[in-house]
């Protein structure tokens, strides 16, 4: 089982700030997904990254896959209260999930 470490565990910021959260593994990812989960709901897929060095953008969210495919980051620009939620990374076939970063954005 591939272990995924996410950091930070919790993050509380004000609206308009930028932030970055991380997902790391000791072994190489074949691919990686990022999900966002709102309280009381199931996770929703945001993006899949496959190629080392890949960068994908989804509006104010920027996802990067490390060159060695052992780490990934999610950067949010000008965070909004609607970005509040639990951000999860998952490895191939999403059989392994990190414990997530819980983000709170206050107005």
């Amino acid at each position: 089982t591939q272990l995924l470490e996410q950091s930070p565990q919790f993050l509380s910021i004000q609206e308009g700030e930028n932030l970055t959260v991380y997902c790391n593994s000791s072994s190489v990812f074949s691919s990686l997904q990022w999900y966002r989960q709102e309280p009381g709901e199931g996770p929703v897929l945001l993006v899949t990254v496959v190629t080392g060095g890949e960068v994908k953008k989804l509006k104010r969210l920027t996802f990067q896959f490390g060159d060695a495919r052992k780490d990934s980051s999610l950067h949010i620009t000008a965070a909004q209260p609607g970005d509040t939620g639990l951000y999860l990374c998952a490895s191939r076939y999403a059989l392994n999930f990190g414990k997530g970063t819980s983000l709170l954005v206050t107005p």
């Binding site: 709901e41 199931g42 996770p43 897929l45 899949t48 999860l88 076939y93 059989l95 392994n96 999930f97």
Partner: protein
Amino acid sequence: DVKVTQSSRYLVKRTGEKVFLECVQDMDHENMFWYRQDPGLGLRLIYFSYDVKMKEKGDIPEGYSVSREKKERFSLILESASTNQTSMYLCASGLASSYEQYFGPGTRLTVT
């Protein structure tokens, strides 16, 4: 849009009861999954299925069983519910050719 539905959003059962959690997807996905989610432990895979009548154990199958008689439906069964099975249960589905999963809204199960 992919839709994954779960039979109940909230469920309260007594210790020792047999509990059925139903999951239905409408996108003809081959893969279906059951997870539980607990604070501090994250999502943990209970069982998954790659095809009708096929099942594979995940990381924490003890105390659970599953059934997949039809492609669109994947059921999780707690043979004799215990208090340590109080949790949020999440079902997901996905294509065999894809890494992506689509989740239902979850069932919050309380066993008293």
